[in-house]
């Protein structure tokens, strides 16, 4: 079960000119099957936090535990989806979807079958031979999701996965994300810049402080996942509350914060 514990994680980048302290003592516990959204000023360390959770960046202090185990390298059933989807332009839809399984040396026949199932789930079964450059933005995002599904990921880490999409495609994919989460109950961490998206897709919404990032507030959002939640008063209320918290963190008017 993919429960996550982030234990006073600090992370400093050693840049060319100076060191950048990106995270300063992040503490967080996610229950298995939780869905959290992370929101905060630009440059506050959201992507950094996600990379640390994926096992791609080692914290300078503290540690990330998944299923009780300290993460030092990418974990088998964690899937990471980056803003530009992280697809390989030189691989077809099918090959991209199979990639995770192939890298982990699953038998080709099994990889193929699981990739096909995942592609069918996201509605890409008819585009197997196309290259990513031949897909629309929404289709690329679906492909990135299929790759995670093929891996049977129980922890899904997403860094602004929908920010490059137009409004309609975006809502469409938000609903897909929600329905996948309802069906599979994986643990989901979604970084977003959109207040509405955070409230729509996060059972808990984490507000981060400007750099160096900490968790400044957690908004509980129990209505998340209810049918038609977007149209409810509770949704609206949660958005207002979140907006207030973000304004308090200086995230709304001073994009990027002090530097």
């Amino acid at each position: 079960m993919a429960d996550v514990r982030i234990d006073s994680v600090s992370l400093t980048y050693h840049g060319v000119d100076a060191d950048v302290r990106a995270l300063a003592g992040v503490d967080l516990t996610l229950a298995d099957g939780d869905a959290v959204a992370v929101i905060g000023p630009s440059g506050c360390g959201k992507s950094t936090l996600l990379l640390a959770m994926a096992g791609l960046l080692a914290p300078t202090e503290g540690a990330v535990f998944v299923e009780g185990e300290a993460i030092a390298r990418p974990r088998l059933r964690t899937a990471l989806i980056l803003q530009d989807f992280g697809l390989l332009p030189w691989k077809t839809v099918l090959d991209n979807a199979e990639l995770g399984l192939r890298i982990r040396h699953h038998p080709p026949a099994e990889s193929h079958k699981r990739a096909l199932e995942a592609l069918t789930r996201v509605g890409l079964q008819e585009f197997l031979g196309l290259f990513p450059s031949e897909l629309s933005g929404g289709m690329r995002q679906r492909l990135a999701l299929a790759r995670a599904l093929a891996l049977d990921a129980d922890l899904l880490l997403m860094d602004e996965p929908l920010s490059a999409l137009d409004a309609l495609t975006r809502e469409d994919l938000q609903d897909l994300l929600l329905s996948l989460w309802r069906d599979r109950r994986h643990t989901s961490v979604l970084v977003t810049h959109s207040i509405e998206e955070a409230v729509y897709l996060g059972r808990h919404v984490l507000v981060m402080s400007p750099r160096p990032g900490r968790i400044a507030a957690v908004v509980d959002n129990p209505g998340m996942g209810d049918p038609g939640y977007r149209e409810t008063e509770a949704f609206h209320q949660a958005c207002v509350e979140l907006r207030g918290l973000l304004a308090a963190e200086g995230a709304l008017h001073r994009e990027g914060g002090a530097s």
Binding site: G86, L87, S133
Partner: protein, 250 residues
Amino acid sequence: MRGWTRKAVGYVGAAVVMVVLWELASLAMHSPALPTPADGLGEFAKQFPVLLPHFGVSTLRVVSSILLGLVVGAPLGLVLGRSERADVIFGPLVFLNYPVPKVVFLPVLLVLLGIGNASIIALITLIVFFQILVTARDAARSLSSAAVLSVRSLGADRWQVFTNVVVPGSMPEIFTALRISVGTAVAVLFFSETIAGSTGLGYFVFDAWGRVQYGEMFAGILAMALLGVLLYEAIELIEARVCRWARAGR
């Protein structure tokens, strides 16, 4: 198919323009060194049986040089581009030698390897090697970190990152370098064959020039031009297959 017909029309058109310019130039100059297209092509046809073995030898030399330069230069360049440590150690060596004109080493190669295939292939390989090495290094360096990160997040080790991201992602640039090095390679081939060859098109052309056989000389020049065009087209063809993805979705 549409692409092919367009290309064919383009080539025929270009050939017509060239023949017309050639005709005009030869009429204007009125020199035996530049025959009219009809005479030149006639001579080419006449010399064809004699030219063929020279053409074969030259092709073998230039193709094996390009392959050698590619097989050694591309992997080395990709590793330098991805590994800071390797780059710190070998980078300066590469960049100190890259701008040195390699052709001036032909005499050295002749002393070491003697007249013939070995010196010619060594010289062309050396030049192609550096061109491809430097391009591959830059291509590997500028790869998108998102692709690398996402493949690493799937559990890829260094070797898998290399085969899944670095190699295919650098292919278009490597092919560009290959196409450019064909021109250089054929030029160096000509130069080295005139000095270090007793066979090959370069030798043939130079020998005919020495014997004041301008017809033969010109036939050899045409064969050399043909060799360049064929090599270039071959690389285009291979690239279209290998880098199909880079042309998709345009």
